[in-house]
């Protein structure tokens, strides 16, 4: 019987880890569909960014302090309590019970007590989060792109986190060895539930809660790759690969550089490129960093809540840009894997993100600045805009006029280049007048 539960444990653990491994491989494969970009420079600065923004949650408490602190509780709870998973795995495989307790002694009980307090904080935070999402009318959580699955997804995550923590606390509460010689700060409040129970019934409760927690964690592990919750893993690489240039610096399109160079210098022959494409038509035209951004996004909506276009009622929402990019990438991945058939109507990223949205961006960088894990929606927007203008010639008429003014007069308005320095002549005349 004992061996049977150990074998069952190993089988469940193996299956859970295997399916998670497959999901992660699928995601890595999808991210690699993006264009290559070299971000291997400046390692020290990159580690620092990861420590500051992902590990240290540097922006969370600054942007929205209350939600930020609650998030830090859940984050710490998640990271630290998972140390206990190590013990669960050893216990499950070896058929032991609380294998670390005899080794660590007092430190063990202190750790469990500490985890209980963290667990309680996680529960409280998640309840507040559920309340904020469902009962309070916070626009960030009610906006159109969250309708349906994304809204449900957020609630699933919160409920599962609460349930997992409750299981952990019940497991401690039913544990006779804790009841006897240690008073746990949280689970001790549940002792009355188990007081009049036989030892074997109490032990059954411990076992049940232990298995529930273990299976729950594995289920959650396999839910995460399909969920916005993937940020708990990808926040780390994503902050490591943060853009280190000034935010207003747009990349120069090399394809164009070569063409311009060839025009200026007739001896220069640009390298031949198969199917050259200007700007971004579909997810494969984005860089892998853009795609990593899309998978890292947890749809919190801080970007959209500071977007000047969105807050004044325009259609553009940077969060939707990230969600659409991920949805389209998943779709492309599924078509490649044969899970989805080739669509009858050709689709690309522009099927998801419309011209009206793309044209509304002021490139103000507020979304980039505010993102707790440095996601860059603007980069996707401007490169899709480049495709619209350069490949589809879909610029608004006013922009076409601006382009031809720059081309012909060297200024976006219709003024003659020869009048460019007229202000200086004015200034000279004015100062002469003053002297007289």
């Amino acid at each position: 019987m004992q061996y049977l539960s150990q074998i069952l444990f190993i089988l469940i653990l193996g299956a859970g880890v295997y399916f998670f491994y497959r999901s992660i491989n699928r995601i890595i494969r999808n991210i690699k569909l993006g264009k290559d970009i070299d971000l291997s420079d400046n390692k020290a600065k990159r580690w620092k960014n990861m420590l500051r923004f992902a590990v240290g949650q540097g922006k969370m408490t600054k942007i929205k302090p209350i939600a930020g602190i609650l998030h830090v509780f859940v984050y710490l709870g998640f990271v630290l309590i998972n140390i206990e998973v190590l013990e669960i795995i050893i216990d499950g495989i070896a058929g032991t019970h609380r294998v670390f307790r005899p080794v660590l002694g007092g430190l063990y009980d202190f750790s469990i007590a500490f985890f209980e307090i963290l667990g309680l904080l996680v529960i409280i935070s998640c309840i507040i989060f559920l309340f904020r999402r469902n009962a309070m009318k916070i626009y960030r959580f009610q906006s159109p792109e969250l309708k349906g699955w994304p809204f449900f997804d957020a609630n699933v995550i919160l409920v599962v986190e609460i349930v997992l923590m409750v299981a952990l606390i019940v497991m401690n509460a039913a544990d006779r060895s804790f009841q006897a010689d240690a008073s746990m700060p949280v689970s001790s409040f549940l002792y009355p539930m188990f007081e009049n129970m036989s030892d074997s019934s109490a032990h059954l409760w411990v076992q049940a809660a232990w298995w529930f927690h273990f299976v729950g964690i594995l289920w959650f592990l396999n839910y995460v790759p399909y969920s916005k919750h993937l940020h708990i893993i990808l926040a780390f690489p994503n902050t490591y690969y943060t853009n280190l240039d000034p935010k207003a610096k747009f990349k120069n399109n090399e394809l164009v550089s070569n063409e311009v160079k060839a025009m200026m210098d007739t001896s220069f022959t640009p390298p031949t490129v198969e199917n050259p494409r200007f700007g971004v038509k579909d997810v494969e035209d984005l860089t892998w960093k853009n795609l990593l951004d899309a998978y890292s996004c947890t749809e919190c909506g801080r970007c959209t809540s500071v977007c000047p276009a969105n807050t004044t009622g325009k259609l553009l929402s940077p969060r939707k840009v990230m969600m659409d990019t991920r949805d389209r990438l998943e779709e492309v991945g599924k078509i490649r894997d044969g899970v989805l058939p080739e669509p009858e109507q050709p689709k690309d990223l522009h099927t998801y993100i419309t011209k009206e949205e793309l044209l509304a961006c002021t490139t103000c960088n507020a979304c980039v600045e505010v993102c707790p894990i440095n996601i860059n929606p603007m980069d996707i927007i401007v490169n899709m805009r480049q495709y619209l203008v350069m490949e589809e010639s879909a610029a608004p008429q006013e922009w076409n006029m601006m382009f031809s003014n720059i081309e012909n007069n060297g200024a976006p308005w219709q003024f003659a280049q020869s009048e460019r320095a007229n202000w200086a002549i004015d200034l000279e005349n004015e100062s002469k007048k003053d002297e007289n």
Partner: protein, 261 residues
């Protein structure tokens, strides 16, 4: 005063300390021309040997690039770089944060490497070096709010230089609800100023100017000719033309020093 071109300097066998990049707005827009003149007067007053490119200056290509016309941008860039490198320009000061950003950040890869400063940074350095002595003046004790342009602020991390210049005039700086890295956009960037905005509930410049109105300041200090256009329009839309004005930092200094009316 006489404004000299780079060619004038070279003809006289001299090298100017800086190239003043005027920009299209500064050259042609009537309101922005006043900023250009004010900055030129300050440079003259502080004894800075500055040159302009005059009719050889051309659009940096910023609006084309932000609007997605990369080809036009790079054509403009390579022409400008040819002119700048031809004169051997080393240091550029721009009164427009868009020109500043483009030349500083996007030209180097295309062969244009210069030290590039925004005029508020250069004014700060003139004050710090004692070349421009500011003691209070016209704006002393007056309430001023400052609008961070996106391309100088978030885009390039310059938040303090303009504020220190305002502090040198001993003005009473009151911040808006959103400022510095959280500062709200005026609505002009990304080539928006060259087209009608998309359908929405409100114009961005109106939303921003409402934040300025809340401060009770009569002066909105700006550092960008496009913010200036947008914010002034916002003031008009709110019916506050008689109560508030948008004034560039260079104009504030010129006024404080009695160089302009």
């Amino acid at each position: 005063m006489k404004v000299r071109t780079y060619a004038d300097y070279l003809a006289a066998g001299e090298t100017p300390e800086i190239l003043f990049w005027v920009g299209c707005a500064g050259s042609f827009d009537q309101r922005a021309q006043r900023v250009t003149k004010a900055f030129a007067k300050i440079l003259d007053y502080a004894g800075v040997k500055f040159a302009v490119l005059g009719n050889e200056e051309s659009c940096t290509g910023d609006p084309a690039k932000r609007a997605g016309n990369e080809f036009l941008f790079q054509m403009q860039a390579s022409n400008n770089i040819a002119v700048l490198n031809g004169y051997g320009v080393k240091k550029i000061v721009a009164t427009c944060p868009h020109c500043f950003n483009t030349i500083k950040n996007e030209y180097p890869e295309l062969g244009g490497n210069y030290e590039v400063l925004h005029h508020t940074q250069f004014l700060q350095s003139l004050i710090n070096e004692g070349r421009l002595k500011i003691k209070g003046g016209f704006y002393k004790g007056k309430k001023i709010t400052y609008h961070d342009s996106c391309y100088l602020g978030r885009g390039n991390g310059v938040y303090e230089a303009p504020r220190e210049v305002i502090a040198a005039m001993e003005a009473d700086l009151v911040e808006m609800k959103t400022c510095r890295s959280k500062g709200m956009c005026c609505g002009a960037g990304g080539a928006q100023v060259f087209k009608e905005s998309e359908k929405g509930k409100k114009e961005i410049n109106t939303a921003r100017i409402e934040q300025a109105i809340e401060t009770g300041a009569k002066v909105v200090a700006s550092n960008c000719p496009f913010c200036m256009i947008m914010l002034q329009d916002g003031i008009k839309a709110c019916g506050k033309e008689n109560d508030m004005k948008v004034i560039d930092i260079a104009e504030l200094i010129a006024k404080a020093e009695d160089l302009i009316d």
